[in-house]
């Protein structure tokens, strides 16, 4: 897989992480965690719309919208006591922003393993991010099919 296969924002995020020492990668992940946007009010008031990502060690909930232009909008929420999970969600929220259905479905499933965090964070924890991406794609497929 080459960088050119990846949507630009995801490629940039990967490049940013890989350019850092292990310890600084954690701090960059923390920056992402702090940047996770609040849920839009219509979802914050409707927890029933949110899907829990069971594979993450900490509670994280996602909701995916596909608008009339087939643009994907990923919303996610996780508690402040779970900064790693917030960081994972934030990477995907930022990395997938503005992408079309086809772009998102084309993101390699192993993207989370390629951004240089398996050593700093551990492979087991990275599985949570892989699950976030997998569930996002599944929600998109369900919405497009409906």
């Amino acid at each position: 897989m080459t960088t050119s296969d990846l949507p630009e924002a995801l490629a940039q995020i990967r490049e940013d992480f890989l350019g850092l020492e292990q310890r600084d990668r954690l701090l960059l992940l923390l920056e992402f965690a702090n940047e996770l946007p609040e849920l839009p009010a219509q979802y914050a008031e409707h927890p029933d719309l949110l899907e829990r990502v069971e594979e993450c060690q900490s509670p994280v909930f996602i909701f995916v919208e596909v608008d009339e232009n087939r643009i994907v909008h990923l919303h996610a929420t996780a508690p402040k006591e779970a900064p790693t999970t917030r960081g994972f969600a934030s990477i995907l929220v930022q990395g997938l922003a503005g992408l079309t259905v086809d772009d998102v479905l084309g993101v390699p499933d192993d993207y989370p393993n390629t951004i240089g965090l398996t050593e700093a964070v551990s492979p087991l924890r990275i599985r949570g991010m892989t699950a976030l991406l997998g569930r996002t794609k599944r929600q998109i497929r369900e919405k497009v099919a409906a």
């Binding site: 992940l29 965690a33 594979e55 900490s58 402040k80 006591e81 900064p83 790693t84 700093a120 551990s122």
Partner: protein
Amino acid sequence: MTVEVDSSAKFTEYAHPERLVSTDWLQAHLGTPGLVVVESDEDVLLYETGHIPGSVKIDWHTDLNDPVQRDYIDGEGFAKLLGSKGISRDSTVVIYGDKNNWWAAYALWVFTLFGHEDVRLLDGGRAKWEAEGREYTTEVPTPAAVDYPVVERNDAPIRAYKDDVLAHFGNPLIDVRSPEEFSGERTTAPAYPEEGALRAGHIPSAQNMPWGKAAADDGTFRGLGELNALYRDGAGLRDGDSVIAYCRIGERSSHTWFVLTHLLGFDGVRNYDGSWTEWGSAVRVPIVKGVEPGAVPAAR
């Protein structure tokens, strides 16, 4: 160079009160020579968001586990890790963490594999420190490296392997997972990644006592009377029992190991860290589904 123990009235009823310190005690002793405070969390980034001033971080994945083999680091690795954190063999170590000290207890158990003598938990962990509005800092200390001797792990007294469990049948087993994991109900829907084990259920004859029951709402350990009600009346443990506790990978059961060993005073409690991720995928080991412990198989 042992730092004085916390003589709080609450701890005196426990079998080994010297294994706990209160938030008040820790606040008053921060900076005491010979004391090293260690944060150990489930979330690898939590320490970076803010931690008790002067505390160092030890992560169960990236520091305590061998990166290749499914095992803990060896004596050399442990010596290097502790020395780099400014911990000497005679340091008093107080560990605290998130989730009712779940991972802190796990780190304490690993320290015990290496025979580090004076290692204690902060009763209530991160949550209590935070709820009391005590200070956090994001400043990461840079302790001068010290010499920690290379001491090989002594697993046998407190760690059980799968074969030990097979030979243990007829003695008490405590499954500290949630009731849903114990009964073997699937908690994830089909087509979702299933984590870690090929089969669901529990080890035959195990009593289910979810680990978190040992903690009160504020994250501190329950009093002796309540713990006795859970583990003696509830799970049927009696003095002199040899007990093995397990969960999914041995972390939650470290917490129960701490309760049984240091608070209730049981000798010879072992933690089966292979736990369900090993047992539930092993070939030809007995498994029981449902809420009942099930019949005791013959020991092998």
